[in-house]
Symmetry: C2
Subunit: 417 residues, 2 copies
């Protein structure tokens, strides 16, 4: 079953908005076994939309359209649907109720423009919008399935998850299951060597290695006669991964390291304190993106100056003078210092050369020391994270968070690669 | 002059990679007066690529293709170019020299696969790749301009900026100039009211309001007979904006608030210290993304606990008990405390309810107090930033950074809206 994703909006063509909707839809469809053959973006022009509708319908059994359903005159998608399917408008009472409630909850007056969004193409089934005002449309006929959704990502995702993906999954010809296993601290090539044989373990399965700054994601896919059998097959692959590289696996699917870590810290009733130099606040920024992080993060210190390292973390100035701020000794003193001063169970630290300047032969750009301290002791390790400043920050933050995960799970504190 | 942007790669269709290339190219072309009529993404299939080539060429005078030029067998774009233009391969000596140097500089062995990338379509002019190994191709004929670029963003951007944009700009039928003026601290509707009349100030100009979490970007466009005249017209519009809402304008085009601020602090020789509660490190993370920030950022404190607010910032526990951690009094004490303890010229603070829980009728989710302190005094103001946790963090960080900008420029410390 082939699909086309059609995005509508001038703001996409002029680069004002990056088309993350299309990628998200592609990823979700791939998970249920539907291949996207093409993604197309056109502007808010009736002719261009109609031409794109015709082309998509003639080639793909599933067409998912997003954008152009808003209440202003720039939005032409509803009009295009009326013309393309040669249908009129009808009032959808449920949609009107949803729209009225949306405005009532926000204590905002309901305008005629918004009320008009409850007028939908007569032959379409409507898809409820729980997060905004424009309902979606679903038209099913002998040429296939045609869906029209708002361009606002949260509204589009709500309809996809609630209505469209379950419907398409049940209609997919070959049941497929997908798990993404999230690894970190092991390079792609080492991971591939260690997992040698996984691609021939079971028939009709696939393993994809997807590297990123936070580690390598492993996407495991299986197609079977039933959804249960497909699920069982990917579970077998995931178990194989855990057996071979378990200590490097921190989560699954859409989990983030910070979510995993906040859950672990809260479950164990542990408090964390963070002392960052080269990561500059990125570690605590990521942790505090997670609701409930205030239960387990006591404080963070961004110790960008040597004076601050001494004042707030108790790192002896002589230690810095002797070894330099980027050193095992200072990383350990920072981790232990922040832990003791904060009175927490765990302290973590980063100190490195983020670049682009400040490197030397002995301490090149990309060198980062990560320290971790608990009542059981304090350790640090040197990493080399490349030469791009933002890359160095991102990879160092991930490695530091991973060290805390390893401590909490009684694994070796640092990956051995 | 119409353009199509054609992106090639299975990784785009399955949502592994978000297509930021197409948006960037669309934005750059818009700046020089070329409209993108359509963006298309297809996978690494020869048939799909050839079909997309034909369609793009038949409708658009400019076609920009990215992706599929890598050294592995998945990459089919070069083969598609050979078939589509019915041409063979030739060795490009300059490309080979570039590739050899690329590997020599990285002390990595040069493989045959990479050497083969210097074999280019015989009728194409090559575009040098200063950041990778695959050269780009430029084919110009009576049907128009056809460009093929690598999919790696930095490599693609290098070729666009160095070769393609200057070439297309000089060939554009109508010279156009674009400036994006960056504003913050003023809502879109207020901005539109205050700038009333700007759209009729000069003929053949356009003003677009582009809201984001960091403020409203104003894109000013003018088309004229000459590039100089177009430039003069957008400068006139920009001056109009500065006259009306100058204090809200922090930068232009691709500048970020943190870049502007680091430049200002360094120019004035001022040191900053940051005390963050609800923003959780985002302020220092953004500042430390800027090279040279170590010259002007002395320290940051992420004071997530009340104990830390007292220990590290000197906020009296009684003050917190009396007014609550989210209050004018605590915001001011945090900003002054971090400034005095760090010995800096400026201290900035945030304390608020980021949500989703922790709100009350008196202090709802989204309430954020921002404090700023200098030898001239200490002030704080309350903001309401909505109910989504990441939105609250992003908007609060931007407002806090803007308060520092205002202090350095001797403007009122907080926007009056």
């Amino acid at each position: 079953m082939k699909a086309e994703v059609l995005s509508i909006g001038d703001e996409l063509l002029i680069g004002q908005v990056i088309n993350s909707n299309a990628a998200w839809i592609g990823e979700q469809l791939a998970r249920i076994g539907i291949s996207v053959g093409r993604m197309t973006t056109v502007g808010d022009s009736l002719d261009d939309i109609l031409q794109a509708f015709e082309r998509a319908r003639s080639e793909c059994a599933v067409v998912i359209v997003t954008g152009g359903l808003g209440p202003t005159h720039d939005d032409r998608t509803r009009e295009a649907v009326l013309r393309f399917f040669n249908t009129g408008l009808r009032l959808d009472e449920d949609a009107l109720t949803d729209i009225e409630r949306f405005f009532a909850e926000r204590k905002r007056p309901l305008s005629d423009r918004n009320r008009d969004q409850a007028m939908v193409p007569a032959l379409a089934r409507t898809l409820r919008n729980m997060r905004g005002t424009a309902p979606g449309y679903h038209i099913s006929d002998d040429r296939g399935q045609f869906f029209v959704l708002p361009g606002v990502p949260t509204e589009m995702k709500g309809m996809m998850e609630r209505d469209i993906l379950p419907l398409l999954a049940s209609a997919a010809p070959t049941p497929r299951a997908v798990i993404t296993v999230l690894s970190t601290g092991i390079p792609e090539s080492t991971l591939a060597d260690t997992l040698e044989g996984i691609d021939t373990l079971l028939p009709d399965t696939a393993v994809a290695f997807l590297p990123s700054l936070h580690g390598v994601r492993l996407r495991l896919t299986a197609t079977r006669d039933t959804a249960d059998a497909a699920r069982h097959a990917v579970d077998t692959l995931a178990d194989f991964v855990l057996t071979r590289v378990g200590e490097h696996v921190y989560g699954r699917d859409t989990e983030s390291m910070e979510q995993v870590l906040v859950a672990l810290l809260r479950a164990q009733g542990k408090l964390l304190a963070v002392a960052e130099s080269c990561t500059g606040g990125l570690i605590t920024d990521r942790l505090t993106n997670v609701p409930g992080s205030s239960d387990c993060l006591e404080r963070g210190v961004v110790a960008y100056s040597n004076r601050c390292k001494s004042d707030m973390l108790g790192v002896p100035p002589l230690l810095i003078a002797e070894h330099g701020a980027v050193s095992r000794e200072v990383a350990e003193a920072m981790a232990e210092g922040v832990r003791l001063r904060a009175g927490t169970d765990i302290g973590i630290s980063t100190t490195g050369v983020a670049g682009p300047s400040g490197g030397s032969d002995e301490k090149p750009v990309g060198l980062v020391w990560i320290g971790i301290s608990s009542p059981d002791g304090t350790e640090a390790r040197a990493f080399h994270f490349g030469t791009d400043r933002l890359t160095v920050k991102a990879r160092a933050a991930q490695a530091a968070l991973d060290a805390v995960r390893r401590l909490l799970l009684h694994l070796p504190l640092f990956s051995t690669q």
